[in-house]
Amino acid sequence: MTDTKPLDPEALYRHCDLSAFDFETTAELDDLPELPGQQRATDAIRFGVGMRRDGYNLYALGSPGAGRRALIDDHLRRKAAEQARPPDWVYVNNFDDGYKPLALALPAGRGRDLRDDMKQLVEDLEAALPAAFESDEYRARRKELEQNLEEERGEPFEALTKKAREQGIALIRTARGMAFAPMNEDEEVIPPEEFNKLPEEERERVREKIEKLQNELEKIIQQIPRWQREARRKIRRLDRDITRVAVDNLMEDMRKSWRDQPDVLRYLDAVRDDVIENAGDFADSDDNDGSAMALLGLGDHERGSLTRYRVNLLVDNSATEGAPIVFENHPSHQNLFGRIEHMSQMGNLFTNFTLIKPGALHRANGGYLVIEARKVLVQPFAWESLKRTLFAGELRVESLGQELSLISTVSLEPEALGLDVKVILIGSRLLYFLLNEYDPEFGQLFKVAADFDDSMPRDDDAHRLYARMIATLGRREHLLPLDRAATARVIEHGARQAEDAERVSVHLQRVADLLREADYFARRDDRDVIERADVQATVEARRYRAGRAPERLQEAIRRGVLLIDTDGERVGQINGLSVSNAGQMAFGHASRISARVRLGKGEVKDIQREVKLAGPIFSKAVLTLTGYLGAHYAPDFPLMLGASLVFEQTYGGIEGDSATAAELFALLSALADVPLKQSLAVTGSANQYGEVQPIGAVNEKIEGFFDTCRERGLTGGQGVLIPAANVKHLMLRDDVIEAVRDGKFRVWPFATVDEGLALVTGMPAGERDERGRFPEGSVNDRVQKRLLELAETARAWSRRTGAGRDEGADGESDDGDGAS
C-alpha cells in the first residue's frame, strides 16, 4: 500500500483573506494609476516613449485583452500632453513641375490660415484682375499700344500704297488677300479691254512695276508674324505690369503675415509670378471652381483652372493638444501612407495635388502611431513600406500601383515629408518572436519590447491592489461597486483563470467582462452593490452557456457510448484525463487508456502516434516512457517487449504529455498482470527517472472526472491522481470541494511513478533493496520478472531460428504468446 494521503479540502482552493480588505465596497477605493502586475511592461513603455532615437519603436507583446492598448494609451496621453504640437503639413502646387507637389511644414494651426489666405487671394484676384483690365487706365494704355502697333504695321503698307499710286498702280484688298492693278487718272483700275489696247511696251512696263511692288508686298507680308509676335509681347508686358500692380497690392498683407515662414514666402513668390504670367485665367473663372475640369489640375493652364492656387491641408493640428496619438485599426497601405485619388473625366483618370489624401503616419507625424502587428502584417506591402519609411525617416505618398509598376500612367510624385513618429506595435508573443527570428530589420526598428504579464503573485498587498483595479474598471465602466466578498470572488476567479492558486490573472479584458456581467446580475436583482453571489452567478452562467459540449460528453459516458469505468478493476486499462477547448471555456474529461504487451524488440507503440494523430510532445512522452521502462526494469538485460498503447474512442489529434503517467500505469499493469482501479483517473507527466511533472488545466481535468463520477454516483472511492507540483494550482469548484469534504471524492498528489502506481493498483510498487531486487510480489517485481521472461523467450526463440537471426523477436511476428 502507500502512505500518500489525499488532499484536504483546504488545499483545493485558496480563498482571499477578507480581513486584508479595509473597505466595505470598492466605491471607497481610489483609482489605480497603473495596471497591477505590469511593472516590467510599464517601465518598458516609459523608456520606449521617452527615448527619442531612431529605432526605439515599441512592440507591446502579450495576450489579447491583457490591457496593452489601455496602458499604452494612458502613457502616451500623459507623455503627449507634455510635448509640443507638431507642425501642420500642406501640399501646394509646384509651379516649376506640376507633377511634383511641394510639401510645406507650418506651425500648428497655420496650415488652415494659408489655405484660407490663398482662397481669399484667389477670390480677390478674380475680382481685382478683371477690374484692372477693365479700368480706364488699362484700356487707354492698351489702346495706345495697339494704335502704335497698328501705325507701325500700317506704315509699310501706306508707304507701299503711296509708292504704287505714284506709279499709277493701286494696292487693292481682295476677299482673300491683296493685289496690284494699274489705275487710270480717276484712280480706278484700268478695265482689261483698255489695258489690252495699250502698246506692248507699256503693258510690259506696268507688269514689271507690279512685279517689283509685289516683291515688296511679299516682304512686308512676311514681316506680319514678327509684328504679331512683337505685338503680343508688348501687350503681354502691359498685362503683366497691370497684373503685377494688382497682385502685389493684394499680396502685401499676406506676405507680411507670413514673413516668418521663408518657405511660404518662396511659395508666394511663385504664386505671384504664375498669376502675372497667367492673368487671363482670372478673366472668366466663374465656372472653374468646383467643376470637374477645374479639379483636373495638371496642365490646367490651358483650361484656365485656378485649382493650382489651392492649398491641400494634409495635416491640420490646429485642434491637437500636445503630440498626436493615432490608433489605426485598419493599417492598410493606403490608410498608413495616404493615397492619391483620381477623378474620372470622359473615361480618363486625372489627379492633382489637391487629391493627395493623408494616411495615419501623416496624422501621427510628430507623435505616436499605434497599430496591431498582425493587422499590419496581413495587409499587402504595408509592413515592408512601414519599415522602409521608418528607416528613411521621410514619408512619401505613393500608390501601390506605382510602387509595383502596375500603373505606368503619369501621376504625381509628391515631395516627401520629414517623419518623426514613434510606432507602437501591439501583438502576440509568438509574432514578436517570429519577427525577431525571421525579419532582420525588425530588431533594428523595434528595439523596445514591452512584455505584458498574464498574471501576478497573490498576497494580501496584491489583493488590495487588485481591488483598486476592480474599483477603477468599475468606475470607468459605470458599474456597481463590489462588496468585499464579491471582490474576493473576482480575485479567486482570476486565480482560477491564471491556473494557479498563488497567482492571479491580470487579463484586463477578462476582469472587465466578469465585472460587467456581475453588474448585470446585481442590477437584475435590484442590488446596489455587486455581491459574491452575483460573481458566482456570472461564473456559473458562463459555464452553463459554454456547457453544451461537456454535457453531451458526460451524457455519452453515462449512456455507455463512451466507455469509461468508474469502479472495479481492470488489467492494462486506466482512466486518463484530457482537456478540450470549447470556445473560451476549457473542460476536462476522462479517456480510457489501454495497453497490451507481447514479445517484441523493445518498442512501445502508441497507436495515436502511428496513425499520426499525436503531436510531437505526445510522441516525446511515449519515448520517454520507453526510456523509463528500460532503465528502471531492464538495466542489464534486453528489453524484448512489444507493447501497444491507445487512447480509446478518440477520433481527433492528441497533444501534450499529461497522460504519460497514466500510459505508464496501464503498461505496467499489463506487464505485471495487476489490475488497476477504475475509480481513479490519473493525470501527470513523467520523466525517465520516474519523477512526476506538473501538467496544465489541472482544475478542469479533476472537475471533468468528478462530473463523470457524480453522474454515476459518488462512492467515496473515486478520485484523481495529480502531480504533487500541481497542488498549488488548484482552484476547484465548490461542489468538488464539498464532495471532498464529505469524503465522497478525493484528490491525491503523487510525486513519483511508484507513488502513483501504489495508488492505482492498491499494492506497493516496491523499491529495490541493497541487492537491487524489488520486493517479492510487488508490482515492480512482477513487471521486471515479466520483462525477464520476455527476454528469455526472445533468446530461446533466437537460438531456435539460428544465430544472428532475430526474426523471432520481430514485432511483426504472429506469435501471441507475449500478449497479456
Binding site: L171, I172, P182, V189, P191
Partner: protein, 276 residues
C-alpha cells in the same frame, strides 16, 4: 428737328470690320425700331483687276501668289453676296427686325454715297478695303466728307450695346440735330454725356440750358471742353468709357484731327447731317 431714323443702310462685306459693322448696325436697328438695309457692293475695281492678264493676289496670311481670273472673281462675288445675304437674314431673324438686301456693282464709295438718299443713316466699318490696315478707309473718309445722310463709322470690336453715347454740343442747328440723334440712340434709362464745345466759358451755361431744354426729361451729364478745338475734344475722350461719339457738322475739326478722334473711339463716330 430731324425725323427719326427709319432705315439704316449698312455696307456689308466679308472683312472682319464689315461683319462687325453689320452686327452693330443690326443691334442699333433693333433698338430704334428701324429697318436694316444691307448693301453689298461688288467692287468694280476687283472685277477689272481679275480681268487683267497678270492679275494675281497674295493671301493675307502669307503664302504663294494665286492667279486671278474674271470667272473666279465673278463666282467668288456671287457666293459672297449669297453668304452675306444669308448672314443678314439670320441676324435680322434673330433680332426680329425688318431687313432687305441689295447687290450693286460699282465703286464702293460712289455707290454708298448714292445710297445716302435712301436712308437716314449709313453705317460702315472704319477699316478700309483698299490698301493696308490704315486707321480710316478711303470709303469712310469720302463718306465723312460727302455723305448727305448721317454716317456711322463703327470701330472694329465695338459693342454698341455696352457703349455709352456722347454728343459734341456747340452752338448751332447742327449741334441740336446731333443732340437729337444722340438722344434717339441712347437707351432711355441711360444718361447721355454732353461735351460742351465753346470758347467762351460763360456761354457754356447757356448751351447747357439749351441742351437740357432739348433733352426734356432725359438725363444728361455735362463736360466742358477746355476750348473749342479738335485737340481739346481728343483729350477729353481719354477718361471716357467705351464711346460712340455723336458729332454734328462742324467746321472747327480738321479732317486729319477727325481721323485721330475716330481712331481713339472704342465705339465709333456718328456724323449727323441735318437735312433741310
Amino acid at each position: 428737328m430731324s425725323e427719326r431714323i427709319r432705315s439704316i443702310l449698312v455696307a456689308v462685306d466679308s472683312s472682319a470690320g464689315g461683319l462687325a459693322a453689320l452686327q452693330q448696325a443690326a443691334e442699333l436697328a433693333r433698338r430704334i425700331d428701324a429697318e436694316l438695309s444691307g448693301l453689298f457692293i461688288e467692287d468694280e475695281d476687283l472685277v477689272r483687276l481679275a480681268g487683267l492678264p497678270f492679275a494675281r493676289e497674295l493671301p493675307a496670311g502669307g503664302g504663294e501668289w494665286r492667279p486671278l481670273s474674271t470667272e473666279v472673281m465673278e463666282r467668288d462675288l456671287a457666293r459672297l453676296a449669297r453668304d452675306l445675304e444669308r448672314e443678314l437674314e439670320v441676324l435680322a431673324g434673330r433680332l426680329e427686325i425688318p431687313w432687305r438686301f441689295r447687290r450693286r456693282r460699282g465703286r464702293v464709295a460712289t455707290e454708298l454715297l448714292a445710297a445716302c438718299s435712301e436712308c437716314e443713316l449709313v453705317a460702315v466699318g472704319t477699316a478700309g478695303m483698299r490698301g493696308g490696315p490704315s486707321r480710316l478707309g478711303s470709303t469712310a473718309r469720302r463718306l465723312l466728307a460727302e455723305a448727305t445722310s448721317s454716317v456711322m463709322l463703327i470701330a472694329p470690336g465695338a459693342v454698341l450695346r455696352a457703349a455709352s453715347f456722347a454728343v459734341v454740343f456747340d452752338a448751332g442747328q447742327a449741334a441740336e440735330g446731333a443732340l437729337a440723334r444722340a438722344l434717339e440712340l441712347t437707351p432711355p434709362d441711360r444718361s447721355l454725356d454732353v461735351l460742351i464745345a465753346v470758347d467762351d466759358r460763360a456761354a457754356a451755361d447757356t448751351l447747357k440750358a439749351r441742351a437740357r431744354e432739348l433733352a426734356g426729361t432725359r438725363a444728361l451729364r455735362f463736360r466742358t471742353l477746355r476750348e473749342k478745338s479738335g485737340s481739346a475734344l481728343l483729350d477729353s475722350l481719354a477718361d471716357l468709357a467705351p464711346l460712340m461719339l455723336v458729332l454734328g457738322e462742324t467746321d472747327w475739326i480738321e479732317p486729319p484731327m477727325l481721323e485721330r478722334i475716330v481712331a481713339r473711339l472704342d465705339g465709333g463716330l456718328l456724323r449727323v447731317r441735318t437735312r433741310d
